[in-house]
Each structure stands twice: as structure tokens, then as C-alpha cells.
């Protein structure tokens, strides 16, 4: 049921899902998923709309209840896991804004709460928020209202919020959706730096796009089951559609973002 090399002793998985089932209403969305992400790995969850990839991610963070199976984070049962500062999460959003105006700094500071005791942010916490903003190239917009930002900048704010706790594991749900080209490159660069520092990444993607060179392994879901677990596939879902014929960049090739232009 495992995925080969990753189940070998000595490599502690950061994320481990075994036989996970989940329903939304009465409709089964996950029908026994196995997924292991080892330390330092970058794993992409791929699949068509409705294949269960977002649900899979949301079971890991506890947003969607599981009807069967085990989930472990850093070797701890998810229900007993409390060390949330080690996890940075980027939910699927088109906007970082809420019903009331908020500045970029105010939003990103929320991400630091997992490290702040009683919600009090100290000097070191404010410094970490600033660093997170620099990582995504938004430091100059720190005091601006998020309402004044473009779609790609919203996504950069959401990623900075996840990075503010200096996590060892990044979980991202479609971080590239609705992101302009310039922001895509910034995000790919940010992610590259995180991965270089040893951060483990699990991300839902609709298409591999500019992140492809970073991805170690792809897990493809279909109808709530794992269809493929291994090297990034050549063409799945949207990629296989006619009119989507871009050349896949390979290692050492320059970053390619043309498919979205």
C-alpha cells in the first residue's frame, strides 16, 4: 500500500495518509487514498476537477472529517498533532480580502499566531512577518490595503502568510490559480528558495506549469483514488486536452511559463 522507497525505514515521512476515505454529504470523495511525503520532498497532487485533490489536502489539515484511514503529520496522529507552527498552509483562494479592509501586514501577521503565545506578537514575530513579505517581493506593499492588489499579489500575500511561521512543511492548494506571469515567476522563485532550505512541499496543481522543475513526484487522483504515483506525468487532465500542446521543460531548462500567456 505504500509507495516504494518512501516506506523504507530511516526516512520519517512528514505526511502519511493510509486508506483515507472522506465523504462530502453522502457522496464519497476519497475512496482509500495512500500518500506519503518524505522530508524535503516536493510532491504535486494532480487530477481533474472533482478528483478529490483539494479534499485530500483538506483532510490533512483537519478541515474535512475522515470516515476511515489514518493521517499522520511529522509522525504524530493528526488528531493529536499540535505543533502547527511547523505547517504553512495556503488555501485555495482568489482573494486575501475579507469583509473589512486590512493591510498586507495585518493579513500576513495572522500566519505568525501559531508561534505567538496568547496572540501577542513580539519584535521577533514582526521581523518574521517582514521577512515573509520580502520572500514574496511584497515588502513595499506592506502598509497597503489588500483591496488594492492584483490577483497575483493576493496569492503572494497568502503565501507570505503561510511562510510567516517559518514552517518545515508547506501545503498549498492551487497556489498558481489566477496568478499573472510576473507573480508566477516570483512564486516559483520563492518556492525554489524554500525547497533549497529543506522545506517539504505538498501542493495541489491544475497543471505543472512553471513549478515543474521543482517537483520530485506527482500523485494523480481520479475519482478519489490514486491513479499514478511517481515521476511527473507527461500529460494529464488539462494537459491532455487539445490546444494545450506546450513543450514540457526538463531539468536545467530555463523556467517556462508560456503555457499561460
Amino acid at each position: 500500500m505504500g509507495v516504494g522507497a518512501l516506506d523504507e525505514p530511516g526516512i520519517e515521512p512528514v505526511i502519511s495518509l493510509r486508506g483515507v476515505r472522506a465523504e462530502l454529504g453522502s457522496r464519497p470523495v476519497l475512496r482509500g487514498i495512500d500518500l506519503t511525503v518524505a522530508r524535503g520532498e516536493v510532491v504535486a497532487l494532480l487530477g481533474a476537477n472533482g478528483s478529490g485533490k483539494s479534499t485530500a489536502i483538506r483532510t490533512i489539515i483537519g478541515q474535512v472529517p475522515v470516515s476511515a484511514g489514518d493521517i499522520e503529520l511529522f509522525g504524530t496522529d493528526r488528531r493529536r498533532f499540535r505543533d502547527w507552527a511547523r505547517v504553512g498552509y495556503v488555501p485555495q483562494r482568489t482573494t486575501a480580502a475579507g469583509g473589512v479592509p486590512a493591510t498586507v501586514t495585518e493579513i500576513v501577521s495572522s500566519g505568525r499566531l501559531s508561534r505567538a503565545r496568547f496572540g501577542v506578537l513580539r519584535k521577533a514575530d514582526h521581523a518574521a512577518v517582514r521577512r515573509a513579505l520580502e520572500l514574496v517581493g511584497m515588502a513595499d506593499r506592506a502598509k497597503d490595503s489588500v483591496n488594492a492588489l492584483s490577483g497575483g499579489q493576493h496569492q503572494r500575500v497568502l503565501i507570505a502568510r503561510a511562510l510567516a511561521s517559518e514552517p518545515q512543511l508547506l501545503i498549498m492548494d492551487e497556489p498558481m490559480a489566477g496568478v499573472d506571469l510576473a507573480s508566477q515567476e516570483v512564486l516559483a522563485q520563492t518556492l525554489r528558495e524554500q525547497v533549497a532550505q529543506g522545506t517539504t512541499v505538498l501542493l495541489v496543481l491544475h497543471e505543472l506549469g512553471p513549478l515543474e522543475p521543482l517537483i520530485d513526484r506527482a500523485v494523480v487522483l481520479r475519482d478519489g483514488c490514486v491513479l499514478h504515483d511517481g515521476p511527473p506525468p507527461q500529460a494529464v487532465g488539462q494537459h491532455a486536452l487539445p490546444g494545450h500542446d506546450h513543450v514540457h521543460p526538463h531539468e536545467n531548462e530555463p523556467l517556462r511559463t508560456g503555457l499561460l500567456s
Binding site: P91, G98, V100, A102, E106
Partner: protein, 300 residues
């Protein structure tokens, strides 16, 4: 300033200031989570408490606090579990609460809907000594929660799913928000009235948004507006002999319209300043390339 000579006006003004602070302070989180009308629902449920207070000869303020807190907790539970039929359940809760209030007050000895009117629309002369004590205690609780837990409440109200992954006790914070909103309703009940209280939770926040870019500034401006209109409305109500709740709400809406009119040119100037500060490669407006403009002039 002769209105300060009367004990009932001193009590009414104190209550009004506390309402002006607390209603926008919790309201901002409700607006942020896009539950602006939650206060209205709680106000309906609180009517049952007022009715029970009359029926059982207990303090209507404390009974209203009790029922509105229970109602708010129930609303939060419905939000968790009853996803599909949630709105129907809420409708039953609201109108059941209102009907219960009317029923209980008519069952009370010597009670009639006339007793209910001052609770529905607010009244200055009826704020009693014991009401003031209750209002002060409850307002203290609301201020403590909305300021003391502002970062946690901000995070949960901004993005519940994300807040869960920061390890915040999301359900407890949601319940606390609901309970605090319920308490605020009963704080505001005597001055503004149950049917108008929601306006004071929402409109000052909406007015503040016209001027502010940050959450902190929105909070401060909303509370400043809240205190101004409650004091202004209470004094106007005294001199003109008009109902305080209606006066306060109309003043709040006037403040909203004034600030909106004021904000439009301000926003334009801000946009111009932002455009001027933009790097050349990223113009805020579509500019005609210089060469083509030159061509055009030649053509004419």
C-alpha cells in the same frame, strides 16, 4: 448642558456611550466574516428573554442576555452541522424568538405589547439603576474580548480554514464571537432597541471603511463614529422628544453618507498619488505611445 442634571439622562448617556463602543467593536468581526445580519437575528431571539423576564418577574436585561446567548450558540451550532437547511433553521429560530417574546409578555400579569415597545426601539427614561450595572458589566466583557483577542478574532474572521492550521481553537473562538454579539445586543437593547441594534453593529463599520485601509483604523474609526452617534442621538432625543433608537440609527446612516461623499474625492487623490509613484513600466492608466500621439498630430 441641563440634561446632565437629570439622573435618568446620566444613566442613559452612560449606557449610550457603552453601546457606541461595544456595538461596532463586535460588529466589525461580524462584517469581516460576512455575517452582518447576525445581530439582527440575535435581537429577535432576545425578545423571548424580555418576555420571560416580565412573566417571571425577573430582570428583562439578564433574561434577554440568557436567551440571546443561548440563541447565538444555537445559531453557531446550526452553522456547523446544518449546512444545507441552515437558513431555514435560522429563520425558525428568529421568528420563534420574536413570537415567544410577544406570547410571554401577554401572558405576564398586566403585560401587553406596550411593555415590549421600549425594548424594541429603545427608550431613555426607562434605563434603571440596575440596568446600568448590568450594562456596565456586560460592556466590560465585550471590550475585553474584542480588544484582548483581536488578533485571534481577526484571523478566524478573515479566513477560518487558515486559522485552523495556525492551531487556533476555531470553534471556541466562533462561539465566543457569537456569545459576545449576543451580550452586545442586550447592552444596546435599552438605548437603541432590539430591532435597531444591528444597525449600530454594521453601519459604523461600513462608514469607517470609506476612510480606512487597515483593520486597526477601521476599528478605531467605527468606535469613534459609534460613540459620536449614540451621544448625539441621546441628546437630540432628549431635546426633541423623539425616540432615541431611531435618532441614533438615522444619525449613523447620515454619518455613513457623509463619509462616503467625503471619501470619493479622497480615493481619487490617493489613486492619482499611487499612479504618480508607480514605476514607469507599470502605468496605472493606458497611455497612448508617444510616437502614435505624434503621428496623430501630424495627420490633423
Amino acid at each position: 448642558m441641563d440634561f446632565l442634571d437629570y439622573a435618568f439622562m446620566q444613566r442613559a448617556l452612560l449606557a449610550a456611550v457603552l453601546v457606541g463602543i461595544t456595538a461596532p467593536a463586535i460588529g466589525i468581526y461580524l462584517v469581516q466574516r460576512r455575517q452582518a445580519l447576525m445581530g439582527d437575528g440575535i435581537g429577535h431571539v432576545a425578545m423571548t428573554g424580555v418576555g420571560l423576564g416580565f412573566l417571571l418577574s425577573a430582570s428583562p436585561v439578564w433574561m434577554a442576555t440568557l436567551t440571546s446567548v443561548l440563541g447565538a450558540v444555537l445559531m453557531e451550532l446550526i452553522r456547523w452541522y446544518g449546512r444545507t437547511r441552515g437558513d431555514i433553521a435560522l429563520a425558525m429560530l428568529f421568528y420563534g424568538g420574536m413570537a415567544g417574546g410577544v406570547m410571554f409578555i401577554n401572558l405576564a400579569p398586566g403585560g401587553s405589547n406596550a411593555n415590549l415597545t421600549s425594548y424594541l426601539f429603545g427608550s431613555l427614561s426607562t434605563v434603571s439603576e440596575s440596568d446600568v450595572t448590568a450594562i456596565c458589566l456586560l460592556a466590560g466583557f465585550v471590550v475585553l474580548v474584542t480588544l484582548g483577542l483581536r488578533r485571534q478574532l481577526f484571523a478566524v474572521s478573515q479566513d477560518e480554514e487558515f486559522a485552523r492550521v495556525t492551531g487556533l481553537p476555531v470553534r471556541a473562538l466562533n462561539l465566543l464571537t457569537a456569545v459576545t454579539a449576543a451580550v452586545t445586543v442586550t447592552v444596546a437593547m435599552r438605548v437603541v432597541g432590539l430591532l435597531l441594534v444591528s444597525a449600530l453593529m454594521v453601519v459604523p463599520v461600513a462608514a469607517a471603511q470609506q476612510l480606512s485601509r487597515s483593520f486597526a483604523a477601521t476599528f478605531a474609526i467605527a468606535v469613534a463614529i459609534g460613540v459620536s452617534v449614540t451621544i448625539g442621538g441621546t441628546i437630540t432625543s432628549y431635546y426633541q422628544d423623539v425616540p432615541p433608537g431611531a435618532t441614533i440609527v438615522l444619525l449613523t446612516i447620515a454619518a455613513f453618507m457623509a463619509l462616503t461623499a467625503l471619501a470619493a474625492p479622497l480615493a481619487r487623490r490617493r489613486a492619482r498619488a499611487a499612479a504618480a509613484g508607480q514605476p514607469a513600466g507599470d502605468p496605472a492608466e493606458c497611455a497612448i505611445p508617444a510616437s502614435r500621439e505624434a503621428d496623430g498630430t501630424v495627420g490633423v
